[in-house]
Symmetry: C2
Subunit: 448 residues, 2 copies
């Protein structure tokens, strides 16, 4: 947490977390509980997920405190014994997780919380709120990165993201997943995400005269002149850019790029490239935006449109084609005993788990979900400890390093998984010991 990310009230939780907490305290159900968060199934149009949001979860757990006005509000609704408990509340548990940037699949736990029951339960809603969203966006962003690994990809989505935090964290999650940066200033201040930006149509409109707008902008931003050329007539504006470039050259100002935001981008980008090249502006890049997503990106690239960079907005920050993940945070063990939910269509795998990944020629070929203890497996374990007794174990990893991890992960994806279309499920096996534990718990429950 830094001064730019702000504080989220612990009252951002579901009412039942507090009503259950009250009962747990009254009945002294304060033994160790183990919860795991996992994705039940991939949304249509996704072949893998990219884990993101762990850093924000650790911040949340480390800083979880109830302030006086929050306690006042609660004291009108809950017994004094509980308010005393909340006044002293500190998260004292352990966190195990997949590192951010890890590629993962359904049924694989991405985080495990081990803590006294009242604590482990209370933190559910916000942990899911954070991991769900950042993972959703990182997984969406990864698709554009795979389609256009050598292009400038910029998050433009804050204005239509779902609220302030979504705007901020979408910038973080997409950068983590391999984007070049974001237009959202706060993401630069809070997370050191590289920032990119041009100008709005209103800037051109306010000038009335397009040429005057271009010239003002170039003079005031000589190092970073990217001109928006589609407010009235794109090709006519490109001609003006060529004309202006001659004038600016005398002042040692180069026009770094132009942006198109409407119309047939394949056609306009070709026309504009030709106009710029003929005008001697071979180094002036073309950047496009407007209803962009990985499918349009792929179509533009296959048409050989001469585009150097893409601003991706709404489709990225909302993950419009799949705006939610079917994920759950479930109790897997309480008081030393494994637990299993058996609700129709929503059964869970019990116990504390580890995920092992298998490789062939450096490419992923299959994962095994196994019990953490007493269930030895080959392969690379994906889950590691991050917090012990409420304290972080490691120094924070830089976002740039996490981004490198994501990119290295993509390099190990088999060809089938990098496709935008749907492909056969990646094999995720449940170990024999884990299956046996589930069967045993079901039998015990039946006996009751």
């Amino acid at each position: 947490m830094n001064s730019f990310t702000g504080r989220c009230s612990p009252l951002l939780t579901d009412l039942y977390q507090l009503t259950m907490l009250q009962t747990y305290l009254e009945y002294e159900m304060v033994d160790t509980a183990v919860f795991e968060l996992f994705v039940r199934r991939l949304p249509s149009g996704r072949n893998f997920m990219v884990a993101a949001g762990l850093e924000q979860v650790l911040d949340f757990l480390e800083n979880l405190r109830f302030l006086p006005d929050e306690l006042d509000w609660l004291s009108q609704r809950f017994p004094a014994q509980m308010i005393d408990y909340l006044e002293q509340f500190r998260f004292t548990g352990d966190v195990h997780a997949m590192p951010e940037g890890t590629i993962f699949f359904p049924n694989e736990p991405v985080i495990r919380i081990t803590a006294p029951m009242p604590q482990a339960q209370l933190v559910e809603s916000r942990i899911m709120n954070l991991l769900h969203f950042e993972t959703l966006i990182a997984s969406k962003a990864a698709r554009s990165v795979l389609v256009a690994p050598d292009k400038l990809l910029v998050d433009f989505g804050m204005r239509r993201a779902h609220g302030a935090e979504a705007g901020l964290l979408a910038a973080r999650a997409s950068y983590l997943a391999g984007f070049s940066g974001s237009a959202t200033i706060l993401a630069g201040a809070a997370f050191d995400v590289p920032l990119f930006g041009t100008m709005a149509h209103s800037f051109i409109q306010a000038h009335g005269d397009e040429m005057a707008a271009f010239e003002h902008f170039a003079q005031s931003h000589p190092e970073n002149t990217v001109l928006l050329i589609d407010t009235y007539d794109t090709e006519a504006a490109a001609e003006k850019v060529v004309e202006l470039a001659v004038k600016l050259r005398q002042k040692n100002i180069a026009i770094k790029g132009v942006r198109l935001d409407s119309g047939d981008l394949a056609l306009h980008s070709c026309n504009v490239r030709q106009i710029l090249d003929q005008g001697g502006l071979k180094d002036t890049t073309i950047f496009v935006s407007g209803n962009m997503d990985e499918y349009r990106l792929q179509a533009l690239l296959s048409s050989d449109a001469p585009i150097d960079g893409f601003g991706i907005g709404t489709a990225l920050d909302i993950s419009t084609d799949a705006p939610t993940l079917d994920c759950a945070y479930k109790l897997q063990e309480y008081a030393g005993k494994a637990r299993r939910k058996r609700s129709e269509g929503k059964t869970t795998w019990p116990g504390r788990k580890q995920v092992y990944r298998h490789f062939d020629d450096n490419y992923l070929i299959g994962d095994v979900v196994a019990l953490e203890a007493g269930d030895p497996q080959e392969g690379e374990p994906l889950i590691a400890p991050y917090m012990r007794d409420g304290k972080r174990i490691h120094e924070k990893m830089s976002l740039h390093d996490i981004r490198q991890r994501s990119l290295s992960g993509y390099a190990r994806l088999p060809k089938t998984l990098t496709d935008l279309g749907e492909v056969p499920d990646y094999p995720v096996e449940i170990s024999a010991a884990l299956q046996a534990l589930a069967t045993q718990l079901d039998a015990e429950q039946m006996d009751k």
Copy 2:
């Protein structure tokens, strides 16, 4: 703003807002600008929108300040003259808007910002971020309210909402649109939204014995005992509820309700109703949740499933079937002169506008978008002043009163618009004077 809603940094904006601002200051383009926000077209599956988020926009404008650490960060990237300007920054403009809870349609401005250009431009990103999201959720929520006006409808979506603010504001927007309340505690503290909640499966699982879990919960929440009965076997659990009720009656505790969260809800609710009724629990209500939306709601109601209330989560807080609105915040006038964007497929209607609504027998029959001045029209004007010179004009309206406005609005919707399916577009006419102004501006631009 109160202590529960927190502060959003003004750095939550697009980089280009600040680069443009720099140029506006350098070239003294500080005349009055007029921007309007409108929805270009309805998403598929929506027949009208419900305006929401104005209160948050007014809070944002009234409290917009740059703090020392924000100015420090900016000072490494922008000239000193601009940092001085930002240090003194206060929003001093006017706001006109449709009141929250107003039903509206494409091309109708929902808010107008009139302020010196650098101010009116700077606030774009956050205004859109707020109005887009709350309007999206209110418009989604309205559909469930229309389908089930007499049922208990509760927002359950915070955990999968896109970040903290989305969780909080979805509770506000859905209540505003007619929901009964939310499970999100912070929405109760911040906005006085009524709160509802039951218990989680983990509560049952931790007890192992379902009956013990029910009994503990009832004893600790005698006034509000709603028991979750689908963790293992729904009908068996309903029998346990009947058995427990006898025991609790001696202690004067009634079981207020049960919740089902999985399986065939129509079937289980019928079975459970029968078990409860036969056990003398005719007053114990049935509440359902799990992948609920207005379509499933409608299907369950048409099957006469004996359900009293619904928890609607992800589909509501993300508006999953239409998770974004095609909206824009556009410059309509600068320095006393109307402006028009003509980009392909993205032309705008210029000038300051008013929307007039026509009624027949108390039902909406059509709207006219006209110029605010010199373009007299019949009908009820929808846009009113809310802020003058940076200060609110009115006392804040209570959220409960806004909710009443929404409900009164639904009562005036013609039958066609209340349908969940797609219906013919509601007529929104552009006045002759407004059309003439657009034509005139195009001609002037052509001359350049």
